[in-house]
Amino acid sequence: MGTDPFNLTSLTSSFAGLLKVFEIVIALLFIVYSLFVLKEVSMMNKALASQLAPRLKSIAHLQLLIGIVAVVVLLLILLI
């Protein structure tokens, strides 16, 4: 144990940077998706006003916030 007979360590490290960038791109797409969801929730809340409407909008905002935080964290990881 602890050895690397197939030289997998160097193989994975060569792709590590690329994968980190890919993760950031996915997180950015998540932000775009969250914006669309927020828009749709606002639209549907207008079409059907119910007691839960403000909470749903808050969760949609939270989703957007989580996406932004994720991008920031992933950028920090990339820079480390």
Binding site: L8, E40, L48, A49, I59, G67
Partner: protein, 188 residues
């Protein structure tokens, strides 16, 4: 006419909708039975626990020492993974929540909604309703008392299908009573 809170998952009188007229009263707000959410809830739970299972397996078998993948990469992957789970859960809930059927003292309204893909709101006046059929099929529907309600109409949309709603037979009665009152054939 009184509202029927036992059939609605939320108080009907507190809900309004965009095309509602001033003298229109919401009698019922119907959604698919809560049990229909069990599939996506179970799937999301399994997905959320999966990395933990892999981590434990990795520690037990010590396979992680063989590969030596950087913690940053794994952490980044986990962030993306849990973003997807969050989005999946929220989207599934929204799909359930906004696929709503309304019965008012004037019409029935069917809202079909799939976030980002599809949204359609159809309505039919009560006088255009021709036939209503409630059906409860199978073990699960019989156990939890939910099923479908088919409403045949003479309007542009020939058929309204209320899918997996709670207590479809009682909903059928409420619609029929509302029709009677609306058409002036009886009192409720």
């Amino acid at each position: 006419m009184d509202t029927v809170p036992s059939l609605s998952p939320q108080p009907a009188e507190t809900t309004t909708f965009e095309s509602q007229t001033s003298d229109e009263q919401v009698l019922l707000i119907l959604r698919a039975h809560q049990i229909t959410n069990a599939v996506w809830i179970a799937l999301a739970t399994i997905m959320a626990l999966l990395p933990l299972v892999f981590a434990v397996l990795g520690i037990i078998t010590q396979i992680n020492k063989l590969f030596q993948i950087s913690w940053a990469l794994v952490f980044g992957f986990l962030i993306i993974y849990y973003l997807f789970i969050f989005a999946f859960v929220f989207q599934s809930f929204l799909t359930w929540y906004f696929n709503v059927y309304l019965v008012t003292n004037k019409r029935i309204v069917d809202t079909d909604f799939v976030p980002l893909f599809y949204q359609k709101i159809s309505s039919c006046e009560l006088e255009h309703i021709e036939d209503i059929t409630a059906s409860i099929n199978g073990f699960l529907q019989s156990t939890f008392n939910f099923g479908d309600l088919m409403v045949q109409t003479a309007s542009e949309k020939n058929e309204f299908r209320f899918v997996n709603i709670t207590n479809p037979e009682d909903v059928q009665k409420v619609i029929e009573q509302a029709m009677d009152k609306h058409n002036g054939n009886g009192s409720v």
